[in-house]
């Protein structure tokens, strides 16, 4: 996979979230991603960035334009040094929430993108990587 362009945005407040979503839309528009795929990408990203704020307090996102074979797309990495997730499989289930929420964020985000990977270590933090191809 070739990386064409890359930017890191720190996330510690809702103001950062608004900026992050704007930047993500700019990148997606620039590569000519369809409106539907943009909407799916940004909605998934919105869920993951909220998880950073809610569970880790702060973290950072990296937006990257990537290319592989004949495809171009956007890769986003969400990284925090928060508490981590003890049981990732459980956290990925629809309806599982450690709080009193709907437990939609992780499984829903996964459904909205082409690639989804989550790595988490208790006490060290969580990193989620997603890719949405322009198609």
């Amino acid at each position: 996979m070739i990386s064409l362009n890359k930017e890191t945005i720190k996330i510690s407040s809702e103001k950062d979230v608004v900026l992050f979503r704007q930047r993500l839309r700019e990148y997606a528009t620039k590569i000519g991603m369809s409106v539907l795929n943009q909407t799916k990408l940004i909605t998934a990203a919105s869920e993951l960035v909220r998880n950073i704020l809610v569970y880790a307090g702060s973290g950072e996102t990296t937006i990257e334009v990537v290319s592989e074979r004949l495809q171009t797309g956007i890769k986003v990495i969400f990284k925090d040094n928060g508490p981590g997730i003890a049981d990732v499989n459980k956290a990925m289930q629809d309806g599982y929430s450690s709080g009193r929420s709907l437990g939609l964020g992780l499984p829903g985000a996964k459904r909205l993108v082409n690639f989804f990977e989550i790595k988490s270590t208790v006490g060290h933090g969580t990193t989620v990587t997603i890719i949405r191809w322009k198609k």
Partner: protein, 138 residues
């Protein structure tokens, strides 16, 4: 503070969301709307989201809460102008906003609310008629 204006139009309230939503703004809107419905005894709430390009689970939940709370206070909520990409994405996300009425635009939404209000009035005068829930989603 961050607030979205709420317009009072006779027995109804109209909210037009023109900005990128974030959680604080959505929460304030929920609070403000519920207070306004109660204060004015409003019969309907129209939420125009035609300019909104992202509705994630938080915003979706807020819309659901507004509808539920309003119903408890005897007001109908209609979400107007949802972009097709937003509707598709919400379903895939797993939050299809099932309990919420929708309409294509503000005019149609307003007409739907007026019809509901008229139906309610005739029903009230027809001594104890059953509440019929004529769902007109889409």
């Amino acid at each position: 503070m961050d607030r979205i204006p709420i317009l009072k139009m006779g027995p109804f309230l109209l909210v037009t969301i023109q900005v990128d939503m974030y959680d604080r703004l959505a929460l304030n809107l929920e609070n403000d709307l519920i207070i306004m419905v109660q204060k004015n005894g409003s019969k309907g709430v129209l939420i125009d989201i035609s300019a909104v390009s992202i509705v994630d689970s938080f915003m979706g939940r807020i819309i659901g809460n507004i509808a539920t709370m309003s119903r408890i206070m005897d007001a109908e909520t209609i979400v107007v102008g949802m972009q097709p990409a937003v509707a598709i994405t919400l379903v895939e996300l797993g939050l299809p906003l099932s309990g919420v009425h929708t309409a294509l635009n503000v005019e149609k939404g307003m007409a739907l609310l007026q019809k509901k209000l008229a139906d309610d009035l005739t029903e009230d005068s027809e001594s104890e008629a059953e509440m019929d829930d004529n769902d007109q989603s889409e």
